[in-house]
Symmetry: C2
């Protein structure tokens, strides 16, 4: 096989995770091991938008410290983007621009780190370069806290978010025990269509302190059934801890969080999510004191409680994508296969990009209990290996250090 | 001095912290070193209510593991309470009951772990026992994430909450950098009357990633000024991160979070705090996308990111209270003095309980910037020593282990 020498272009896209930068580290570190193929790793600022704007970071110009710190840095260290490319057969202007930039910088390897939509972008660019015969090897690097990419056992980013959620739910649960007559506490967790993150709150129960009720978007949500569930728990325990997906919807598929035309005294429409709405319902309809907690972006950014397994897998997914690209594989995404059910082990493989794009993997029905308000052992067996080990932050003076890529 | 031998009664009261149980550990471990004075440490379930109900845990009957794990356990491991005792001169029924229970169990040392209100309870009991001449030595053990107890440099519980807030704000700030056109993110932090916790968000800025604006309850809040502040930052940075105390109030002292008669479609009054209210204002009045984050109870319960300094001081405060009691000191609270400004060092002293009760220590004006939307270096110099060091959780299978006192 004739060696192809050039630059490797890498970018991040979609919502950040606590370990997407660990994948960047894997890409950068692996690329350095192959100087016969790769001159430099160039990183786009704000994903594909950075390529269109010729707005680049050059990894050969970064300090070792900033590269190493990527393993401990949340967010998207290089900036992210949500930008959907059109079909090149309908509008090829962006593609012509990309081709010009790729040729100008002799980019022969292209790695794109993201979720469903990003894999769509990646696949479209691969199709175009194939169509016009520009030799460039294109690999998708999976990431998403939502864990909804298909054809992979799980997705880097999920394990760390799950670890944060499980440990924080334990803390909230233990905190609630302080008073004899407690409240109904409703915690809102990310996930518009897939309940993987919300389900991970159940891990807390293994410690003896976890949620009493869990509602995922996979099961149609009924307010009446919810009230009955709450009453049943509250009568027994005088308190109730609930984990709820932001994306729960009723039988008709309408989000419970949808605005009900609610305005405040200034005439503004009220923001606010499903948990605060349900807390209001519990207080008003059931007469039980209730409050809501919304984890918000902390759940995807909690670098201070990364899962070591997740970090290592994120790095490995990055490394594997480099090796696949220089091996002249293209239009594929790195996927993770769990090889044995007895002992947790991951094999890294590749899967057609266009099949990975635009499809969401939901929580299997067999992982949800028959009442639709909790999970089964099958889910716990699946999720537990993903949160093992700690990647302790690099604290300096009591606060974390993050990478400052220039 | 004649040695007084008996049991030591300990209890927790008020809102939990991430390290109140470390103080319990300090009390229990120190008491064991003085068998000539103390037979057993008896702990009330749900604070003073447990004494009135004769509902006790006996520390001699606990496993070593559960005692050790107190150093890593958030919440109130023995249950808490909010119960204000009347003046015994007006109504002595509770006091007669306490006297009966204390005599029955030969309780000669009484330690009460809490904030302002708890010190009031503690002081009243001391006054009563002094009045009726029952020999019992009574010491207040300070705790509160709010850091608003007077006569002490700071209060155990504050450092860990500040560490959680600083590190989480860093993560939120870094996460926000992902997109070129960002949002206004408003984070609501605990503190009804004192802004110590909200101020601690400023520590994040030392890493380069922190809040742009900080509003404390010490400064009257003006919505018009707030809007101007937001516009100024947003025009420059295309994003804005704001930390706001739940207790901010306007010139007339009316809480910004006060319900404005807001009802939803079901006719319920809406719950929801000041951050979501301000986010609605930013979106509606300024046309800038905005969202709110409410840390909720996670900020007082985050045992997974305790400050080691805070844990050690919480233990020491517990130990000191035992030594003071067997030294026949009474009606006093343990206070912490910062002895030198050059090198951080704490001396443990005692201060009259009745002076510590019912007074709130606020953030000094010199610690707040002249615009009233940020803090000064004086505050950072004060707070930084309190978040130093890590007390890493005892993880098992990826989740923390908490004490299970029976």
């Amino acid at each position: 096989m004739v060696k192809l020498k050039g630059n490797l272009l890498y970018g991040q896209s979609g919502g950040p995770t606590a370990v997407i930068n660990a994948s960047a580290y894997g890409v950068i570190d692996e690329a350095r091991k192959h100087p016969d193929f790769i001159d430099d790793v160039i990183v786009m600022r704000h994903g594909i938008q950075g390529a269109l704007n010729e707005d680049f970071f050059y990894m050969s110009q970064q300090t070792e410290e900033n590269i190493e710190l990527l393993k401990h840095t949340p967010g998207s260290a290089f900036g992210s983007v949500r930008h959907k490319l059109p079909d090149f057969r309908e509008d090829d202007t962006h593609y012509l621009r990309l081709l010009y930039i790729f040729k100008k910088h002799n980019i022969r390897y292209f790695l794109y780190n993201g979720g469903n939509d990003s894999m769509d972008t990646c696949s479209k660019i691969a199709d175009y370069f194939d169509h016009i015969n520009y030799e460039c090897y294109i690999i998708g690097v999976p990431k998403t806290i939502d864990n909804d990419l298909p054809f992979t056992d799980h997705t880097p980013g999920y394990g760390s978010a799950a670890k944060f959620i499980a440990n924080t739910m334990m803390e909230i649960s233990y905190d609630m025990l302080a008073y004899p007559n407690g409240k109904v506490t409703i915690v809102e967790i990310m996930g518009r269509h897939a309940g993987w993150l919300t389900a991970s709150s159940a891990i807390a129960s293994l410690s003896g302190f976890g949620p009493d009720l869990i509602y995922l978007p996979e099961i149609p949500f009924s307010i009446e059934k919810f009230k009955k569930d709450v009453i049943e728990i509250y009568e027994k325990k005088k308190q109730c801890l609930i984990a709820v997906s932001e994306g729960i919807a009723n039988e008709e598929g309408i989000f419970i969080s949808s605005s009900s035309g609610l305005k405040d005294a200034f005439g503004h429409f009220q923001l606010g999510g499903v948990a605060s709405k349900l807390a209001t319902t519990v207080s008003a309809d059931l007469g039980i004191p209730s409050r809501s907690v919304e984890f918000g972006s902390t759940q995807r950014a909690a670098s201070h409680i990364q899962s070591l397994t997740d970090v290592n897998e994120a790095i490995e997914v990055g490394r594997h994508s480099v090796r696949a690209a220089i091996d002249k594989k293209t239009n594929l995404m790195v996927v993770m296969h769990r090889s044995s059910k007895e002992e947790y082990e991951i094999e890294y493989k590749l899967h057609a990009l266009n099949q990975c794009a635009n499809t969401e993997k939901k929580v299997a029905k067999s992982m949800i209990n028959s009442k639709g308000n909790g999970i089964t052992k099958e889910f716990l067996d699946y999720v537990l290996p993903l949160i093992q080990g700690e990647n302790l932050p690099q604290y300096k003076d009591g606060i974390q250090q993050f990478s400052k890529i220039k």
